[in-house]
Structure formats: structure tokens, C-alpha cells
């Protein structure tokens, strides 16, 4: 099994989730992160002092899928999350060796 981790724009979470749902991918975990890549930050002002923000809010999605789904799922995510502007984010793929469904104790791919 593979773990697909995608760091995307917060505003794109909805579309990505819809796109995954439509393709029958239901299991996913989401967390709030901040990140820095090529995208540049904003200027903020507090009592007349300027600050620049270099870590911008992003959302990270984790989906664990069977090996054969990796290409499809990364494609779906990338398509749904793309705006074409710097800051769209990255997808990382890595190997997961085992899965346990806590409720039933099932192991391996059937537990996904």
C-alpha cells in the first residue's frame, strides 16, 4: 500500500475531497499545516511595524491506497488542487507496510 500526502491550498480542500469521493476514495485524513516553498508571503502591520509572513497556511491530506491506485489518486488530487499559481503545493508518495482497522482488527489491504 502507498501513502499519498498532499499539501494543498486550504481553499482547495473541498474540491479535492469531492473529486476523491466521486472516484470512490473515501478514507482520508486532513490536517492544518503551514508551509514554505517557492511562494512568497504577505506583509502585515501591527502598530505601525511591518512584518512579513513566510509560512503560509496550507492543508495536508493523507490518503492510504492500494498500490495500483497511486497514479489515479495522485492525478485526481493534482487536477483538483491546481490553480497554476505558485503555491499549489506538492504530493509525496511513500510505502505503507501494514494497516490495521481498529474496529475489527483486520489487517492489510482489506482493512483500508
Amino acid at each position: 500500500m502507498k501513502k499519498i500526502e498532499a499539501t494543498i491550498r486550504p481553499g482547495k480542500l473541498d474540491e479535492v475531497k469531492e473529486a476523491l469521493n466521486k472516484s470512490g476514495i473515501n478514507g482520508l485524513t486532513v490536517m492544518q499545516v503551514i508551509g514554505h516553498g517557492k511562494q512568497k508571503g504577505h506583509t502585515q502591520v501591527y502598530r505601525g511595524q511591518e512584518y512579513s509572513v513566510y509560512l503560509l497556511p496550507k492543508v495536508k491530506i493523507e490518503v492510504v491506497v492500494r498500490d495500483e491506485l497511486v497514479e489515479v489518486v495522485t492525478g485526481i488530487i493534482a487536477d483538483a488542487a491546481r490553480t497554476g499559481q505558485i503555491g499549489d503545493g506538492k504530493i509525496f508518495v511513500s510505502t505503507v507496510e501494514d494497516v490495521v482497522r481498529i474496529r475489527t482488527g483486520e489487517r492489510g489491504e482489506t482493512a483500508l
Binding site: I34, H42, T43, Q44, V45, Y46, E50, Y51, S52, Y54
Partner: protein
């Protein structure tokens, strides 16, 4: 430099050439009980606007809370000055053609520590002026609920200046100014059903329509980011509303007592009505509903507060809460306009009901200076109320339309899509509302700024584009 200094001096001389005679009080007719009561009522009404800021601020998304607070706060700044310079004079100065006040009281010239018996015989004219100012502030602030999360800040500021001058000031004159034509007609509006709530509610609706829906409206959920903040705001509103309605008796007397009781009762009834209807309709009674219903009840009783019995205020509140629920829950979805925080649903609908209800439930047994309504044998009063409502709606809608279209000729009303995405807090004001443990570390002092600017001036440039 030289030039600047001179213009300052000039300004100062102009300022102080205003006659100050008769400014100090001879203390003749001032009643300390009434004066203290109205001064403190004015303070309570002022507090309603920071309260409204929180009420609204809790309901927007996290990225727009500061811009929402800013709406109310910038109005506190602008309208306070406008009113002193010329707004009060336009609204309450000597009448011209039953339509507008004179400019005699520019810069409060002639408005001093002695009472003006035309309006309130036992309190200093200045205190009456200050009390009325607080109404002008909150009315403009109410509108901001309709255009939240998408209007450019500079356009908003222009709108506020024009709207207060061209809509609020004349309306206040029509209904409350000596000689105002709706007042002459016999329209009853104890504390501002037409002037405050109908005008702001309908103006908000038009503004929402002109601005268009928020990006993602209908597909993405746009839920309150901080419900307790909204509930706190509602608490301050309920509290301040006692100043609003009871204070409108302009004296600490039995009538103020009646207005106090009807106000509290209608707020309670409005909250209960919303909860019950929601419970039946959606199976869940919500705290946002309780707070919204209380506000709806407060709106509905406003024009009636000093004219009806406490029992009538139960009916007014119950119906007010139910109607606002219907407007917000059903009408809005059906018609599909994006009145973001329901200025129309609460104030337009509630205010209209309240103005008509005054024509139904008013009784001279409560206030001999008022009139009897439908239920007390005088159906004509309902007709008069309906006319006043109609005039207010038509005028507010048209004037707001013209003002916004006019501003739009000069600058853009609407934030860009990117600005909406990032949120107005960041793009209009360069601020973030909340900052956690790592939030602080994510920012660098301005020393790092230069390099960033060098790389992407376009983005930073955007921020100045308010």
C-alpha cells in the same frame, strides 16, 4: 512646511470663530435625573456598535473577522465626526420644506448646555444630540452585515459617508425632526423602526444584490467561525438596547419604564419564537438561533416600545422572531441573494413588522402623546404606519442603489477573487486575527521585508489596493 503650518492656523481660526455664546448652561430647566439617564443611555447605545461588531464578527469566516470588526469601528469614527460637523443639523435643524434640517447648527453652533424644548425640555441640547448620534452610528453599522466578506474597504468608507448624509439624516428628519413630513403625518416610531431598522435592512439587501454573492456561495459552506463571540455581541446588544428604547423616552419616567419592559419582553419572546420554530423545522434549537431571535424581537419592538403594553410586546416579539426566522431560513434560500449576516432578514423584516405592529397595538393608555392603533379602534393608524414603511423602503432602496452605482464609477466596490480567497483581513488590513504557538514564529520583523518585496512586488502591491 511653511504652507502646512499656515493651513493649520487657518483651520484653527475657522474652528474657533463659531459663536460660543450661550454654550454654557444657565441650568434653568435641566433635570438631573433625566439628564443622567439620557447620558448613560447614550453610552449604552454607543456600546451596541462594538457589540454589533462582535455579533457580526463571530459569524464570518476566520479570515474576515477583522474586516468585519473594522466596518463597525470605522463607522464609529466617521459618523461621530460627520454628525457634529453637519449631520445633526441636517437631521434636527430648523426644517426646510418638511424634508431636511437647516445648516444653522453646523459644527454644533447653537447646540449647548441648555435644553431645546422642541425635542427634550429637561436635558441639555448637547445630550439630545449625543443620544441621537449613537443611533446614526449603529444604523450604518447594521448595513455592514449584508456586504460582509467581500466589499473593498475604501469603497465601504465612501458608502458610509454618503449613506449617512443622504439617507440617514433626511430619514431622521422626516420621522423625528420638527416639521418632518412623516412626523406631521402622525407616523409613530418610538426608537427607530423605520429610521434605523427598515432603512438599514433594505439598504443592506440592495447592497448585497449590487455586490453579488460571495465567491463559493451556495457550494461552499460559510459558517460562523466563533459562535461565542456572536453570543457575547448579542448580549451587549440586548443590554445596550435598553438605552436605545428606554432612553428614547428622553427622561427617566414611567414611559421609560414601559419601554424598558416591552423591550426586554419582546427580546425574550423573539428568542423563544426562533427556538421553537427552529426546533419544529430543523429538529434542533440552536444558540445562534436564540441570539438571532432575541435581536429580531428587539428590532420588532423598537418602533412600538413606548406605545404598547407589555402583553402586546409578547405578541410582537413572537411574531418578529418567527418572521425573521422565515426570512433567513426560507426566503433567503428561495430568492438566492447573499445577505451574508442577515441585515435584511433581521432588521428589514423585523423593522417592517414592528412599524406595522405599532399601528396595530399602540394605545394612548400607555402613552397619551402617542395614538391608538387598530386594536384600540383606530385602523387609520395602521395605514399611516404602512405609508411610513413604504416611503422608507422606497427611499432607502433607491438612494442606496444610486450611491453604490455612483461610487462604482470611481472605484471598485468588490474585492478581487484572490482577495476573497485569502480573506479581507490579510488583503485589506494586513492583519491576522489569531496567532497560535507557531503562528508567531511564522512571521518575521520587517528587517526581512526588503528581499521579499524584491522578489514579488506584485503580491505585496495588491495589499495597498484597498
Amino acid at each position: 512646511m511653511m504652507h502646512k503650518r499656515w493651513s493649520w492656523l487657518l483651520a484653527l481660526i475657522i474652528l474657533f470663530s463659531f459663536p460660543v455664546t450661550a454654550f454654557a448652561s444657565d441650568g434653568s430647566a435641566v433635570d438631573s435625573g433625566d439628564t443622567g439617564f439620557v447620558i448613560l443611555s447614550a453610552a449604552l447605545v454607543l456600546l451596541m456598535t462594538p457589540g454589533l461588531a462582535l455579533f457580526y464578527g463571530g459569524m464570518v469566516r476566520k479570515k474576515n473577522v477583522l474586516s468585519t470588526l473594522m466596518h463597525s469601528w470605522s463607522i464609529m469614527g466617521i459618523v461621530s465626526i460627520q454628525w457634529i460637523l453637519f449631520g445633526f443639523s441636517l437631521a434636527f435643524g430648523a426644517d426646510h420644506w418638511n424634508i431636511i434640517g437647516s445648516l444653522d447648527w453646523l459644527g454644533l453652533s447653537g447646540v449647548g448646555q441648555n435644553p431645546d424644548p422642541n425635542y427634550a425640555a429637561t436635558i441639555p441640547a448637547l445630550v439630545f444630540m449625543a443620544f441621537q448620534l449613537m443611533f446614526a452610528i449603529i444604523t450604518a453599522a447594521l448595513i455592514s452585515g449584508s456586504i460582509a466578506e467581500r466589499m473593498r474597504f475604501s469603497a465601504f468608507l465612501l458608502f458610509v459617508i454618503f449613506w449617512t448624509t443622504l439617507v440617514y439624516d433626511p430619514l431622521a428628519h422626516w420621522v423625528w425632526g420638527t416639521g418632518g413630513f412623516l412626523r406631521n403625518l402622525g407616523a409613530l416610531d418610538f426608537a427607530g423602526g423605520t429610521v434605523v431598522h427598515i432603512s438599514s435592512g433594505f439598504s443592506g439587501l440592495i447592497a448585497a444584490l449590487i455586490l453579488g454573492k460571495r465567491k463559493g456561495h451556495g457550494s461552499e459552506p460559510m459558517l460562523p467561525h466563533h459562535v461565542p463571540m456572536t453570543v457575547l455581541g448579542a448580549g451587549l446588544l440586548w443590554f445596550g438596547w435598553f438605552g436605545f428604547n428606554a432612553g428614547s423616552a428622553l427622561g427617566a419616567n414611567g414611559l421609560a419604564g414601559v419601554a424598558f419592559v416591552t423591550t426586554n419582553t419582546s427580546a425574550a419572546a423573539g428568542a423563544l419564537a426562533w427556538l421553537l420554530v427552529e426546533w419544529l423545522h430543523r429538529k434542533q434549537p440552536t444558540i445562534l438561533g436564540a441570539a438571532s431571535g432575541a435581536v429580531a424581537g428587539l428590532v420588532a419592538i423598537t418602533p412600538a416600545a413606548g406605545f404598547v403594553t407589555p402583553l402586546a410586546s409578547i405578541v410582537i416579539g413572537l411574531i418578529g422572531g418567527s418572521l425573521s426566522y422565515g426570512a433567513v431560513s426560507i426566503l433567503k434560500q428561495k430568492l438566492g441573494y447573499d445577505d451574508a449576516l442577515d441585515a435584511f432578514g433581521c432588521h428589514g423584516v423585523g423593522g417592517t413588522w414592528g412599524a406595522l405592529a405599532t399601528g396595530i397595538f399602540a394605545t394612548k393608555s400607555v402613552n397619551p402623546a402617542g395614538a391608538d392603533g387598530l386594536l384600540y379602534g383606530n385602523p387609520a393608524q395602521l395605514g399611516i404606519q404602512a405609508s411610513a414603511v413604504l416611503v422608507t423602503i422606497v427611499f432607502s432602496v433607491l438612494a442606496t442603489f444610486i450611491i453604490l452605482k455612483g461610487i462604482n464609477l470611481v472605484i471598485k466596490l468588490r474585492a478581487s477573487e484572490e482577495e476573497e480567497d485569502l480573506g479581507l483581513d490579510l488583503t485589506m488590513h494586513g492583519e491576522e486575527a489569531y496567532r497560535g504557538l507557531i503562528g508567531n514564529a511564522s512571521t518575521a520583523p520587517s528587517v526581512f521585508k526588503a528581499e521579499h518585496l524584491a522578489i514579488n512586488p506584485a503580491l505585496v502591491g495588491n495589499h495597498t489596493n484597498i
